[in-house]
Symmetry: C5
Subunit: 263 residues, 5 copies
């Protein structure tokens, strides 16, 4: 069988697919939702891959579909399965989940414990580091092998770091970038619980360097986090943003009903 898996050595594949409903086909061929529901069932039945569906606001798409999992071959097959539905693929984004290269290291944490908390007793340090390792491992696992949570609103956008004149992110050394990203992450953490961010890497795979998926129950939170971060130097000086798509996360059958595809 030629559908052999294609897996990355690190990270899951992620495709964000944005569809306009082809109204005339949908009218001519009732039951168009079934193609989509079947495709989702096929991809997710064994629990290895996930799909999130949303009804988008505005002209960029009626329906948004985010799919992720280890096998790029199955993601491509999923996309082709959806091509049977009365949908027109108007935009998309391909990326891989990835660990942040700026994540704190054990040495960072050891230094922080000594400097900020005065913890230097070797046993204390070791106990604290063990707890830290668990937290970090959980966080890392959630970035590489995320479980998409159930939130009611979504925003997706791609972005790149700037390389223009004096504002050239890729000309900064690692320490400066790590320091800047740490400040950026601090803003993000003030939204912990309100907004879930999934940052996936797309350099070499799609037109921008990262894809950002934001999930929240409060639509205002999607606006507030991006706006607040824009004042952070990482965004203010070094970020270029692509198009933004916003929508209402819904169960697949409900999302399809809401965009006018019947089952």
């Amino acid at each position: 069988m030629s559908d052999e898996p294609l897996e990355a050595s690190m990270g899951w594949g992620v495709v964000h697919l944005f569809y306009r409903v082809d109204r005339s086909r949908a009218d001519e061929e009732p039951g168009g939702a079934k193609h989509v529901l079947d495709a989702i069932e096929r991809l997710t039945a064994d629990g290895t891959h996930q799909v999130l569906t949303f009804a988008a606001l505005g002209h960029k798409a009626d329906l948004g579909v985010m799919a992720l999992g280890p096998d790029l071959a199955r993601l491509q097959a999923f996309q082709q399965d959806l091509a049977r539905a009365p949908l027109v693929l108007t935009w998309s984004y391909a990326s891989l989940t990835e660990q942040s290269e700026y994540a704190a290291t054990e040495a960072d944490e050891r230094a922080r414990l000594a400097a900020d908390e005065g913890v230097t007793d070797p046993d204390d340090v070791e106990a604290r580091l063990a707890a830290w390792r668990d937290r970090i491992e959980h966080y890392r696992e959630q970035r590489i092998h995320p479980r998409l949570p159930a939130r009611r609103a979504i925003s997706f956008y791609p972005m790149s770091k700037r390389r223009t004149g004096a504002d050239n992110w890729f000309a900064l050394d690692f320490a400066d970038r790590k320091r800047l990203m740490a400040g950026h992450a601090r803003v993000g953490r003030t939204y912990a619980g309100r907004v879930l961010q999934l940052i996936t890497g797309s350099t070499g795979l799609d037109d921008w360097e990262w894809g950002v998926t934001l999930l929240a129950d409060d639509p205002a939170a999607l606006k507030e986090i991006v706006y607040e971060m824009r004042f952070d130097e990482v965004s203010a000086r070094y970020a270029d943003f692509g198009p933004f798509v916003t929508g209402l996360v819904l169960e697949p059958a409900e999302a399809l009903r809401r965009v006018g595809l019947d089952a």
Copy 2:
């Protein structure tokens, strides 16, 4: 019932929808205006949501529809209702109403009373502040929960603040931005009565940071206010503008008649 409301913790949802009439469908399926009128009735009947319709000039759209209100789920449903009409959604903009972060505070007003008007007697100050609080509350309410007025001409455009080289709005500190915005607002106030501005926030939701809706009875006023503001430092150095759409605000049935959709 799955159509549960999706409301932001702060601000109403706003969608600007721009449609081209699909002439061949409109000819084949007479009565296309009814879909639009029914959709508007469905959204606005209970008084919680509003719709403004206009006949646009030029190729960007035949018909413009601005809808706003607390429930994003109903706005999405409204957009889908309109999909039944012989219309093609060519462009759109999604945003949330929001308070200006640069609005004068009570401390600002107290200082202004002392400095500009010599009002320092505590009772006088308190009386003046009470009146100021009423005005400010009315103004704030109109930004967060606006009632769209009846004016004859409209212009809509999205915009962002610049982040390029020395002209980086997001690298300015709050006091500088507040001072600059106050000067900008002064220009706006000279158009009070002639032009009504509604500025809504879209960072994280759509491709620009704000949407600007201008309403006036005199089409020349739409040009004059934007042109005059362009010399203000906030626009001259820090503003990037998206596409502009202009049109004639009309009652829905009349707007539809004017773009060639019969009832």
Copy 3:
């Protein structure tokens, strides 16, 4: 009657409409030219509004239609009338005629008379100023309420003034802008008779700040004037240009015949 006029307090409305012929519709529904000719007749019959038609070169349009006059409601109705013809509106531009803010004032002329011509005798000055006022009034009237002349070739393009780094037109003070524009106008005057320019304002109405319509009998003159002006500081440092469309100005029936629409 709901078609009440919508007039600007200053300036006429102008729409430049660019159409591709829909060949399959034109073949199926002979007589497509009639819709256009009727629409033009309807708009221009009472002498208040004007229409200029041209056969464009290249892919941007087959047919160009420039319409202007006091009532924006009638211009919108005209655009909708044209929608019945087998034409696809591929691009357009909306603007208002306007006076130049940099036009010489009576004080400028009085100073010029003294400095350049040594005219200081009060009676002489007054006589010269009276003649100047007539000329200026005629020029002003032609900008605000233009009569389109019959020339054989046309070029239309929109433009904005730059706001980038050190080249920020809107950060210059009025005196500098007036001085620069005076030099620019001097170049324009060397083409008097060869090229007629109509500059209309579109800030707040369409995507650029001005629309420029050039009319000439010699197509080379359209190229020469824009090229020569490009070396002028106003263009060299401060102008950004949109798309250019060129064509052959023809009587409506002839223009329609030339783009393949029969009567």
Copy 4:
């Protein structure tokens, strides 16, 4: 007869037309090549106008058609004639042939003869200048009234000179521009025989300032000349380039056969 010629006072009209074949129309209406061959015959029969056809590589076009000659009215008519064929006009470029303003003058040549060749005897100088005038006149004539040669490969692209910050071509004085262009021309001359360049002017007529048509028998030469020139200051600092289209120059009937249109 209303098809009166429209000729420029200087230069021939040039249109570059890029077509995609409309496969479904081509299948339904066999003989589509005839419309094109007839249109070419009509334009070129009297020897005043020329047409060059090529099969393009890639998605930008299947078929390229370059037409030139004195009468813009006939070029517009030619474009409309082609509209009967099963072709979709996807891109185009309109320009006029023109003399280079930086061409060497008789004074330049006289100075060069004295400085570089030590020719100062009046009779010698006069004899040399007479020969130079013939060469220059031939070169000038070939730019204004070119005869397109038969070469096997073509590349077309439009370009403009930059006006950004310190790299503003139009802010340079004439002597600097002439000196820079002379260096640029020297690179071009090293390709004499291998590559034929036709530079036509489009400021005020189309979106860029010049159109460049390169013709060569060796496709590698098209790449080499543009690449080598890119290091020249005129290109490196001052040139912005539009889209490039490349193809195989073929006799019309053969070009049409190669893009799938039968006769």
Copy 5:
């Protein structure tokens, strides 16, 4: 016979063709894969030309086809053969294989042997240079006349070198460019075996200066190499990137099956 070859004096022709499946045609005309398989057979049967097919991720294309070989006439014919299949050509890229101008010379290698390895004995040097010449000749041959390897994932993108302000690649002298490129190449070599790069030249032929084809078995490697190189000065300061398309390399019949075309 008019299909005479068109070969470049240096380098093979390369076309990257990106297709969307036309679903309605594919449904109406079963067997659409056959047109593609026949076209590939026709181009590759004599072993002079190669084709690589892939199923792309996302909206940019369903199917990618990369074809290369000496004869541009056959590549054009191949593209036309594919036009019979129910495919829409959505994007493409045309280039020629080329030698790197920054490749090490024999003098470079001789200097390196002396400096880095202390090899100065004439016989030793000559023996080492003979081996070096073989390696370099193999490497050069693979760039000019590449044999495409079988890898499972592909990424294609075009790129240009920057010419903006202080970051102007084409204003650097050769020695600086060679030094910078050597550092860039060192990063590339750390991916030897994991990623195969084919860099082809397109200045003067298509919209960017180079096309880059990356092939790897591990999709993560496509991301990692481009991301790591972005920090290299050659990319950080001097590279502008076009669109990226990623996909799964598959045998033609399998690729066609995966995008929904049956045989």
